[in-house]
């Protein structure tokens, strides 16, 4: 009987096999479980990418232009003591996981071969580390090469029966190293008979078993620590290794556990699906590090998480799963300020004996809280509390902080002894991080960047490692970098790939003279319009310009002209990707971190005066009553006649002697803008306030000289009104053209509960009523919140009201129902950002959509995809917020510097009252600071807190009452905190 097998035989063509397969189980999101068989076609043309090798150069695959990718690894790699002929490194997965910061060091770790096996394992274990590794492989000077060992016939290792995946992967790494050594040997021999300098390929692994096997097979290998030890500045480098692993070994004998175990992923997911457990992001209160909250979709109000024990090793920002505690453990939110540094000052990072998860002091603090909760009625009603049972996703990042002086045993700079120290993060919501370092002496008084590696059940604080030092505390460079890092602002210079996308003409680029040039296609020639721009003084990235003129029919033509950035930044090129990553330009006091390269932002796109520029124009016909007759969108070429600052423009408008077209146009604009503004307020737009101050710096050194609150001129609101109008018009146009994918901006109506506290405070303290049923009602009732003789009171209430609101967000039209589009603050049905494409990515996307909506150019595919746009929105929402935060932090720092050594007495207002302190806001400097009871007198005076009336009666020698909204005189000094060496603004009551 003739018989043939259906199976693809692997036995028959042994040796010549170029086919292998990989079988695994895939679980899909919908709960399906599939067996997946992937066939692997093994090849021989994957190059080793060493510049020593000629053979690989011949076989390397070529691209469409018949070029091979240039080889990565140097022909003369650096050597070390043990391998004087130079070496290529092949780290295994764990080496990358524990030492990623090491590999990123500029001065060491060049010529590294990243095996595909390792890369995939890194990807499975940690996505952030994987992205960092990928970034390294793209870094030109580091010479990291990804070798696809699984696809190369010689280095492919089929899994043996009974072998675990890890063992197989280790074997694959060893096999690749072995092959590389043989290959390099041959390559060098083929090059010249006499050459003796043959680099060694060394495997870096910490796995003992793997090391033993490698030695048995004569494969050069080393542990990461041993290798680093042989390098220069080994001390610093060794500190940068992740502490996650050695920690385990050192403390394996200890069994004392501080935290309860986390649930398994499947148990958590089942619980969340069943509605028994809840998932949300863990946030820690900035006033009380022991109080966290998790907002979960199931409830309106956030769940409280009290104490470290219930926090169960979650760090602010982590995605956690929580379980609600029984009702007898419910509690009112804290009215007390609890700061970690004051409670746990004396913790010893080295010794953990007798350590409890809740230290005695912490416990006492909590007890007092509970007592308070029981005695309260309306305001402090007990709220549901919960405890963290598991962590879905760690959002650990790099944290900036400083070394706690008290935790350092020997401060001698010469001592190379390794010791455990605490790093106190700048972010008060993050717990202290234990760090093992050999350079404690040097790191004292420095801004230090560190990461968290692990937080085990038997450790009270998370374990981390040192990444690098940013410089001296309080030095401008270090502090600026620190806040950029804290707010995750990408501040590195633009890479070459991005700069390659700029027009080749550079600064000489001009609007083409010939109207036949493709650049003119579809563009209107608006060069004859009398256009001008009005911006803050010193502004170089001019996004917008305006014009207005009277039409024969008595109406006005008003135009807003926006820099045509989308002409220069095409979708999906490197520059576009970089811009979408950065999301926004970040403005610091002394520095601007651009979203787009300088050439575009400050020159080619910027609507500078006297030169022709491409623009995207929105032109309306409006009646003298500021009603819009029609609107029109077009790409255009304009020539701005003048670039004014707000002040200059104001002077010009006010100067009756000026009667030229330009001034007349501005006067028209001003007249119309006032009408527009009134209409907006009539519709219920809010006039909100945030404390805005401007730091004046010395032009040379950019040292702060003075702090001023910003002055608002009519011209500010002139520009603002027309920008709002343009944004609204464009939003409507984009939405009608792309009902699913238009990128819009919304501002959700705040839930009523947000205003509960403020409206209660106003009622109790001032007998005022805050109505919050609509934005109109709110706007009206905010107007009534005035106090005779105290003009600032209204502003204060507005500042506090602003904090009760939701933050506005970008979104993709298809993800929300039309009524949800509403912008609460502006009282507009629909809104987007269109007017600042140089500094905001959202505007750039809106430009592209509008260009497609008016049939100027086809829409890029990425703007058709709802999923992609949602990703973009998510990112720019975060970037936007971070940029604001970074800007504020920068101002805060400079205000602090400006006040250095001064002693000023100013007016302040009480914004918040705790049982052991209160928050005072000083409008003059826009600073908000805490005054604790113990700052008032030593010893800390007794005080009685009346939570219902927001009064704190301080007894003893001080003997005064502090109540909410009270105007107080405060003395502002600065002070260096002893434990930290950090300068802080200090307020005291006068």
């Amino acid at each position: 009987m003739e018989y043939f097998s259906l199976k693809r035989s692997t036995a028959t063509d042994k040796g010549g096999t170029n086919l292998s397969s990989k079988v695994y189980v895939r679980s899909t999101k919908s709960g399906k479980v599939q067996k997946i068989v992937r066939e692997l076609y093994l090849r021989k043309d994957i190059p080793c990418s060493s510049n020593l090798c000629r053979a690989c150069l011949d076989i390397a695959p070529v691209d469409f232009s018949q070029k091979t990718t240039p080889f990565v690894l140097s022909d003369t790699p650096a050597g070390s003591k043990d391998y004087p002929n130079g070496l290529y490194l092949v780290p295994d997965t764990n080496a990358f996981l524990t030492g990623m910061d090491l590999f990123e060091v500029e001065t060491a770790f060049h010529d590294v071969i990243v095996l595909q096996t390792v890369l995939e394992e890194v990807k499975n274990r940690s996505l952030p580390l994987y992205h960092r590794l990928i970034a390294l492989t793209k870094h030109e000077n580091k010479r990291f090469y990804v070798f696809f060992n699984e696809f190369r016939q010689e280095t492919h290792v089929p899994r043996e029966s009974g072998e675990t995946i890890n063992d197989r992967n280790d074997r694959a790494v060893r096999r690749a190293v072995q092959w590389y050594n043989e290959h390099i040997n041959q390559a060098v021999k083929a090059r010249s008979k006499t050459q003796t300098r043959i680099p060694t390929v060394v495997m870096i692994t910490d796995d003992r078993d793997c090391l033993r096997k490698a030695r048995a097979d004569n494969i050069p290998s080393s542990t990461l620590a041993d290798f680093v030890f042989g390098l220069e500045n080994a001390d610093e480098l060794l500190d940068m290794m992740s502490a996650a692993q050695d920690q385990r070994e050192v403390r394996s004998k200890k069994t004392e556990l501080f935290y309860s175990e986390h649930y398994t992923i499947s148990k958590m997911m089942t619980g969340v699906k069943a509605g028994v457990l809840h998932q949300g992001i863990f946030n820690v209160s900035p006033y009380n590090y022991l109080e966290g909250s998790v907002h979960v979709p199931a409830f309106d109000k956030s769940l409280l998480i009290l104490g470290r024990e219930n926090g169960n090793r979650a760090v602010s920002g982590d995605v956690v799963v929580v379980e609600i505690l029984p009702q007898d453990q419910w509690k009112a939110p804290s009215t007390k300020i609890i700061e970690e540094e004051t409670l746990n000052k004396n913790d010893n990072p080295e010794v953990e004996d007798g350590e409890n998860i809740v230290s005695e002091k912490e416990r006492k603090a909590l007890q007092e809280e509970v007592k308070r909760a029981h005695g309260q009625s309306t305001e402090g009603r007990p709220q549901p509390t919960a405890r963290v049972v598991g962590i879905v996703k760690r959002n650990w990042r790099q944290y900036v902080g400083h070394i706690d002086r008290d935790s350092v045993r020997t401060t001698s700079k010469s001592s190379r002894q390794q010791q455990m120290v605490f790093l106190i993060p700048m972010d008060k919501r993050v717990p202290k991080i234990r760090i093992r370092t050999r350079q404690a002496g040097e790191l004292l008084g420095q801004r230090v960047l560190a990461t968290i590696d692990s937080w085990d059940r038997d450790s009270r604080y998370p374990m981390g490692h040192f990444v690098r030092s940013l410089g001296e505390l309080e030095s401008k460079g270090a502090e600026t970098e620190a806040l950029l890092l804290e707010w995750d602002v990408q501040y590195k210079p633009f890479p070459k790939t991005v700069l390659d996308c700029l027009p080749a003409e550079g600064h000489d680029w001009k609007v083409p003279a010939s109207m036949d040039d493709p650049g003119w296609k579809g563009r209107k020639d608006l060069r004859d319009l009398v256009v001008c721009s009005i911006d803050p003084p010193g502004c170089v990235d001019i996004d917008d310009a305006l014009h207005a003129r009277q039409l024969p029919n008595g109406n006005f033509e008003v135009g807003v002209h926006i820099a045509d950035v989308s002409h220069f930044v095409k979708p999906n090129n490197a520059m576009d990707k970089e811009a979408s990553q950065r999301g926004t330009t970040v403005y610091l006091v002394d520095k601007r971190i651009d979203m787009l390269p300088m050439l575009l932002g400050t020159d080619l796109c910027s609507l500078k005066p006297y030169v022709e520029r491409y623009a995207f124009s929105v032109i309306w016909e409006v009646t003298p009553d500021a009603d819009i007759v029609n609107s029109h969108f077009t790409k255009s070429v304009i020539r701005s006649r003048e670039a004014f600052s707000y002040e200059q423009a104001q002077i010009r408008i006010d100067d009756a002697t000026q009667q030229d077209d330009l001034t007349a146009g501005m006067r028209t604009l001003l007249m119309l803008s006032k009408k527009l503004k009134q209409k907006r307020y009539d519709a219920g737009a809010l006039n909100l306030a945030s404390p805005e101050v401007k730091v004046q710096t010395e032009s040379e050194t950019s040292d702060p000289v003075d702090v001023q609150t910003k002055r608002l001129l009519d011209t500010n609101s002139l520009v603002e009104e027309f920008m709002l109008l343009a944004n609204i018009s464009v939003a409507a146009k984009n939405h009608s053209a792309f009902p699913q994918t238009a990128l819009l901006r919304r501002h959700g109506a705040p839930p009523k509960t947000n205003f509960e506290e403020l409206s209660n405070q106003l009622k109790v303290k001032k007998g005022l009523e805050l109505r919050t049923d609509s934005s109109k009602a709110l706007a009206d009732s905010l107007d009534t919140c005035v106090q005779d003789g105290e003009p600032f009171f209204n502003t204060l209430v507005r500042i506090m009201a602003t904090r009760c609101m939701m933050s506005a967000e970008y979104f993709c039209a298809g993800t929300q129902a039309y009524p949800e589009f509403r912008h609460y603050g502006l009282a507009s049905e629909i809104y987007t950002h269109f007017t600042s494409p140089i500094r905001r990515y959202a505007d750039l996307e809106a430009h592209r959509q509008l260009a497609a909506a008016i049939d100027y150019e086809p829409l890029d595919a990425s703007l058709h995809s709802k999923a992609k746009l949602e990703g973009v929105c998510k990112n720019i929402n975060v970037r936007h917020r971070n940029a604001q935060m970074a800007g504020r932090a920068s101002i805060e720092y400079y205000v602090g510097q400006a006040l250095k050594g001064k002693d000023i007495t100013e007016d302040g207002f009480v914004m918040k009252v705790f049982s052991n302190g209160f928050v005072v806001f000083v409008p003059r400097f826009g600073i908000e600071s805490l005054i604790r009871l113990r700052d008032l007198a030593t010893p800390e005076p007794e005080a009685e807190f009346d939570g219902e009336n927001y009064v704190l009666s301080v007894k003893g020698g001080v003997g005064r009452e502090v109540e909410l909204f009270q105007k107080v005189r405060v003395r502002i000094t600065d002070q260096i905190e002893e434990s930290t060496g950090k300068r802080k603004v200090k307020l005291t009551l006068v």
Binding site: M1, Y3, S5, L6, K7, S21, V23, Y24, V25, R26, S27, G31, K32, V33, K35, I36, V37, R159, S161, I165, T264, I265, S266, K267, M269, T270, K273
Partner: protein, 369 residues
């Protein structure tokens, strides 16, 4: 019966009569004279032929019939049933009850399986999927798999999830002989080598599986260290065809032999895990043999051409044929089977070293070899 019976036998009444007379001899001489009554036709078998399936097997018989079976398993959410003991649970102390459940992990899934968790489809070239033959074959195969109740219990993951097993049976050749036994054996081999991803989650959590296929567990686990009690491991049932002709019982009849069968039995058997015998019967069904449709021979006495008289009525014809039953002229059998014969079949199947044990261990050997 419906027209789509397995291919009609094209033997003349005389040939049928001859065939039958050899088979009723003692010992019978089979169509393939080298084989005894209990001998099976030789076959080639292999398993794991379909890389993407959870289990698969292919068997080719010497006459050219060939079957391919693929087993696919999918996780499915169980329908919540208001079970009578659920009410009992709420009454008992919750904690104690939970403990109880932990201890009977041994009996994991016992009696919790449902018939709908196994879906079998049979495809035969030239037949529509709603033709009687494939439908009938599929239901018989499903019936045998469900009858023992063990397979469906193996599919239990937890109270909220179970595996759903799709058994796709494909006959690659035309159905030369009645293909039930072949399909059943192929299915048996496929199930025997089927593996399910290893479960990582516990109890009633949403199931989470190990992504390493090598860690997948066999649907029918192998006792490697030979269990202490000597209890044979559980295996899927297999159907054997037995045919009665006269006093003789013949196993695994070929197409021609079926054409003269008095009766055909499909016996589904599985190895016994506890009883003294090595195998047990899971289900028995009679199958309408094709012999019923064979044309009867016309005896000389009824043939006018040979001087006989054609019977006047059909009733008359029947009476005459009845009388001639032993004369050697071919008359299609009337069907029916003596009790004694059935018990004999059962005995031959389940006895120590009987057909069931032989077949099951032979299929097991394929996997081991």
């Amino acid at each position: 019966m419906a027209p789509n019976q397995p291919q009609q036998v094209t033997l003349s009444p005389a040939e049928l009569s001859f065939l039958r007379s050899t088979l009723v001899q003692s010992p019978p001489i089979r169509f393939d004279h080298t084989k005894g009554p209990k001998d099976f036709r030789s076959m080639r078998a292999e398993y794991d032929v379909l890389p993407g399936a959870n289990g698969s097997a292919r068997i080719a018989l010497e006459d050219g019939t060939e079957a391919l079976v693929g087993v696919k398993a999918e996780v499915e959410k169980s329908q919540r049933r208001p079970s009578p003991d659920a009410r009992g649970n709420t009454l008992s102390v919750a904690a104690g009850d939970a403990e109880m459940r932990d201890t009977d992990a041994e009996n994991h899934g016992k009696g919790k399986g449902q018939n709908s968790w196994i879906e079998t489809s049979v495809e035969i070239p030239g037949f529509r999927d709603d033709d009687p033959l494939p439908v009938f074959l599929a239901s018989m195969l499903t019936e045998s798999l469900l009858a023992s109740g063990e397979l469906k219990d193996r599919l239990y993951i937890n109270s909220r999830f179970h595996w759903k097993l799709y058994i796709d049976i494909l006959l690659l050749s035309p159905p030369l002989s009645y293909p039930l036994a072949l399909l059943s054996m192929t299915t048996h081999l496929a199930l025997l080598t089927s593996r399910l991803p290893a479960l990582k989650s516990e109890k009633d959590e949403d199931p989470l599986f190990d992504d390493d296929w090598d860690a997948a567990v066999f649907l029918y686990p192998k006792n490697e260290g030979k269990s202490l009690f000597g209890a044979a491991e559980d295996k899927p049932p297999v159907i054997v065809l037995a045919m009665a002709v006269g006093p003789n019982i013949i196993f695994d009849p070929c197409m021609e032999e079926l054409a003269v069968a008095d009766a055909v039995l499909a016996v589904a058997c599985a190895n016994a895990t506890s009883s003294s015998t090595r195998a047990r019967i899971v289900s028995i069904r009679t199958i309408d043999p094709p012999s019923h449709l064979t044309p009867p021979g016309v005896p000389n006495s009824m043939n006018s051409a040979t001087g006989g008289t054609v019977p006047a009525s059909s009733a008359d014809a029947l009476t005459q044929r009845e009388l001639l039953a032993t004369s050697g002229v071919w008359t299609p059998p009337r069907g029916g089977m003596k009790r004694a014969l059935i018990s004999q079949v059962v005995k031959i199947v389940v006895e120590e070293g009987g057909v069931a044990e032989e077949v099951i261990s032979a299929l097991q050997a394929i996997e081991l070899g």
